[in-house]
């Protein structure tokens, strides 16, 4: 566990850079994590995925699978990978300030 400064706020992150306390998250932090991970500009489509991930996590306690992300987020699988080439579920979770999804699917 390390403390880093994101968007001017000190936040705790794990070894892979995921926020430890989701309540420390805000949209400026999201932008900064996105930039660090090769996404210069978060579009509305990115936000649709990030918000879906975050809301699902906050409601159910676990992040959605890539399958349900493709089916119910309103963004199909192909586009998910265009938006987040380095792994949609993983990256959207990271930018959304929630833990890394643990599922295999």
């Amino acid at each position: 566990m390390t403390t880093v400064t994101l968007a001017g706020i000190p936040v705790e992150v794990d070894a892979e850079g995921f926020l430890v306390h989701e309540e420390q998250w805000n949209e400026q932090i999201a932008q900064e994590i996105a930039r660090e991970n090769g996404i210069d500009e978060l579009t509305d489509r990115h936000w649709q995925v990030i918000n879906f991930m975050r809301n699902t996590f906050l409601e159910t306690g676990s992040a959605p699978s890539i399958r349900s992300l493709g089916k119910t987020s309103g963004v199909p699988i192909k586009e998910l990978y265009e938006l987040f080439p380095k792994g949609p579920a993983k990256l959207a979770a990271k930018i959304g300030g929630i833990p890394k999804p643990r599922g295999c699917i």
């Binding site: 699978s65 890539i66 399958r67 349900s68 493709g70 199909p76 699988i77 192909k78 990978y81 080439p85 380095k86 792994g87 949609p88 579920a89 993983k90 990256l91 599922g103 295999c104 699917i105």
Partner: protein, 155 residues
């Protein structure tokens, strides 16, 4: 050499449900991690991308000691379908898609799907027998060409 995996080429060589899923899960999992992935279907593994067969793949109940089923029972008519149905239900509960949907999902994730030429010739199949997501029918040599710079996983 880097200690992270950047690219994998996965060979699916078996046509049973338990023979096909591991390779698909590995391929999908690779893409989820941002790892480049190719899937090469050979021999009975071709059933996973065969339009007429990919929705009818079954668990092998004969010669499968992992099921802990008496050998004679494994051969009872309908047992394979029954065990397959049970397993499919469990998989759905875990959000693991059926094979046709899974293969399409993997293709949509940007992985390349290829059929093995020797097996295609052996089974007298053509490009039209396969789902449209299959990019090409390729030789072993071409497969090695595609796999360059990455890891090869045989299942």
């Amino acid at each position: 050499m880097s200690d992270t995996i950047e690219k994998v080429s996965i060979i699916v060589s078996k046509g049973s449900l338990e023979g096909i899923y591991p390779g698909l899960i590995m391929a999908n999992g690779a893409r989820m991690e941002g790892i480049e992935a190719n899937v090469f279907f050979t021999f009975f593994g071709l059933d996973a991308i065969n339009k007429a067969k990919h929705d009818h793949v079954k668990v092998a109940t004969v010669g499968n000691p992992g099921l802990h089923l008496a050998t004679w029972a494994g051969g009872v008519p309908g047992i394979s379908a029954l065990v397959t149905r049970q397993l499919a239900g469990e998989m759905e509960r875990l959000d693991i898609p059926p094979i046709p949907e899974f293969v399409e999902m993997i293709s949509d994730s940007g992985a390349g799907l290829y059929a093995c030429k020797a097996s295609v010739d052996l089974f007298k199949l053509e490009k039209d027998d396969f789902i449209p997501q299959v990019q090409d029918i390729i030789t072993v040599g071409e497969f090695y060409g595609l796999a360059g710079g990455g890891q090869i996983i045989f299942t």
